[in-house]
């Protein structure tokens, strides 16, 4: 469903070159820091109660008292964006961590043992890969009902193949290098080889992949909320706000949709820039 699933989430070379531009990286880092602050302290910073109706006019324009305007029910959009930041930002983190840990573990185990273990793991990964992420999320919603939990779990599984294929490839390449053979011949224990040599060699790759994966997870989760299957109104998840504001677009009041949309885009852009940087770092470790 997402770009993440197309090419193992790798960032094309162009983006890596962009990452060498220092100022761009600094801007991206500052933006992300701002987003994280919003996610952590959003409700404390909000000037109004996000769910309080008619703190301003219906579909009010941007003004000094409502810096992002007000929505169709007169709620303060800025306050709603702040209170929705936590779910919008942390849900993708959960997806990335779950899929990263599961996928990397599966990959390392498959590469280490090879044979039928690898075969079974490959088959599992192939089946998951064949079900597009959005379909898996919709299946999960049909199973467990609407809300964020089902899509988060579904996407964690849907992202497994990306992480797992990447890390399995990396692990196999690493295990095939002569230094692994040298360690065995030296009599170093398997545990030490796995945890002192193999896993640290793979970590940069996993971290880089997770950074990129965060952006995609955020887009996918917002899309699911947009479809009305994720977070439910009156929650102010950004995807929900974008969807709820659609009716007002035609009446000339785009604020309710456009501001959260802008935030989603800016966050993902910043994460991508950071991800390119992290990928360049990981590949530097590799050569």
């Amino acid at each position: 469903m997402s770009v993440a699933q197309l090419a193992g989430g790798r960032v094309p070379r162009v983006a890596r070159r962009a990452a060498q531009r220092e100022w761009l990286f600094i801007v991206a880092a500052v933006v992300l820091l701002g987003i994280v602050v919003m996610a952590l302290f959003g409700p404390l910073l909000a000037p109004y109660d996000p769910d309080q109706l008619f703190v301003g006019p219906s579909n009010g324009a941007v003004s000094a008292s409502h810096i992002m305007g007000t929505d169709d029910l007169g709620r303060d959009i800025f306050s709603r964006v702040l209170s929705g930041a936590a779910a919008s930002v942390f849900a993708p983190v959960v997806v990335v961590v779950l899929s990263g840990v599961l996928g990397a573990t599966l990959a390392v185990v498959a590469a280490w043992f090879g044979g039928w273990v690898d075969g079974v793991s490959n088959r599992i990964i192939d089946v998951i890969f064949a079900i597009p992420g959005l379909v898996l999320a919709i299946l999960a919603v049909a199973m467990f009902g609407k809300g964020l939990v089902a899509p988060v779990l579904a996407l964690s599984i849907a992202y497994l193949p990306i992480v797992s294929r990447l890390v399995r490839g990396g692990a196999r390449a690493e295990l095939g290098k002569p230094y692994m053979a040298a360690l065995r011949i030296q009599g170093v224990s398997s545990g030490a080889i796995a945890f002192r040599h193999l896993v640290p060699a793979l970590l940069p790759m996993i971290i880089a992949q997770s950074t990129i994966g965060f952006g995609y997870a955020m887009l996918d989760l917002a899309a699911i909320s947009f479809l009305g299957l994720g977070a439910q109104p009156p929650a102010s998840d950004w995807g929900v706000m974008i969807s709820a504001g659609q009716a007002s677009l035609l009446t000339g009041a785009p604020e309710q949709s456009v501001f959260p949309a802008l935030l989603v885009v800016v966050t993902v852009l910043a994460v991508n820039i950071l991800g390119a940087r992290v990928t360049a770092w990981a590949e530097g470790k590799d050569s």
Partner: protein
């Protein structure tokens, strides 16, 4: 393609069928075991025990799960896709009228993605300089522009401000369909155009710097011919495989554009069915999407194998 190429392809095909079978088991079993069909069928009315019994018998809910699965699979093979819990009509009658518009939307999107994605990628790789930079900036923003964001921007821009294109519904007749699907197709394609553009650029740049292209240059082959015969040909497997995965995935994500622009296609039906726990509909459409995904990827694999026979061969296990 000779036998050496076809043999591993057949092996791959077998793997795909197995994948498809396992996916169908997952789709069926997961929903059948966790869903609460009675509530979905009765639509929230508290059922009497007799009614529950009737329903369970009617939908064979008391049979063992594997028997239910076989009956379901047998039905799908013979064209009986089951009955919707919510509408109480055959699933076929729900899907049939909606499938055409989704296919049309996906095809429209594919054309946009292939033309602009591959085109801009090649342009950036060959021109370099300012063109390359402009494409880089555009695609950097593009890969952060998901369908729903582009959709609301387009609805705002065209629905309110410009009014050149319709922002709701699918229209009547092919030309009107295409006219109505323009904005949905754009909203679906932006992110993938950007992505494919980067992939294409990367693949072309890699080939331009490759040693066999050096050889062609030393031999004085005209650059247009080098590009056609050595650069683009060799970059195409990578571009094709990404294009294939994109197209395969579009059938699923078209749901977002369908919902945003009020188009009655497969995707919006699936979304609505999931929200209302209409299991037979969700199962059938999900399986269709998975099958499409697998088939499109398989077709692309065959095309790639025709260009590069070695791609079909399994790696030797060391």
């Amino acid at each position: 393609m000779n036998r050496a190429t076809i043999r591993p392809l057949l092996g791959k095909l077998g793997g795909l069928l197995l994948t498809l079978f396992l996916a169908s088991v997952v789709i069926f079993a997961a929903l059948q075991l966790t869903g609460d069909p009675i509530a979905a069928i009765t639509g929230g009315v508290r059922p009497t025990p007799e009614l529950i019994e009737t329903i369970r018998a009617q939908y064979h809910l008391d049979d063992p799960i594997w028997l239910q699965y076989l009956r379901w699979l047998g039905g799908i093979v013979t064209g009986d896709l089951g009955t919707s819990f919510v509408y109480k009509t055959p699933v076929v009658d729900l899907i049939a009228p909606r499938i055409g518009i989704t296919v049309l939307l996906v095809l429209y999107t594919v054309v946009l993605i292939v033309v602009f994605g591959i085109g801009s990628g090649i342009l950036a790789a060959r021109r370099g300089g300012a063109t390359d930079k402009a494409v880089l900036v555009a695609t950097s923003v593009g890969v952060a522009l998901p369908t729903f964001v582009v959709a609301i921007l387009l609805i705002w821009l065209f629905g309110r401000e410009l009014g050149w294109f319709p922002v709701y519904g699918a229209g009547e007749g092919l030309l009107d369909n295409l006219y109505h699907l323009t904005l949905p197709a754009i909203s679906l394609s932006v992110l993938y155009i950007a992505y494919l553009s980067r992939i294409t650029r990367g693949a072309v740049v890699a080939q331009l710097g490759s040693e066999h292209v050096d050889t062609a240059r030393v031999r004085g082959i005209p650059s247009e011919q080098i590009f056609r015969r050595h650069v683009f040909l060799n970059a195409s497997p990578q571009v094709l495989s990404i294009s294939g995965a994109t197209i395969a995935g579009l059938f699923a994500i078209s749901a977002i554009a369908e919902v945003a622009f009020g188009i009655g296609g497969l995707g919006s039906l699936l979304t609505e069915a999931a929200a209302r726990k209409d299991l037979p509909v969700v199962q059938v459409i999900s399986l269709m999407l998975v099958a499409l995904f697998v088939v499109v990827n398989a077709v692309v694999d065959v095309i790639i194998a025709a260009i590069d026979p070695d791609s079909a061969k399994p790696r030797r296990n060391a």
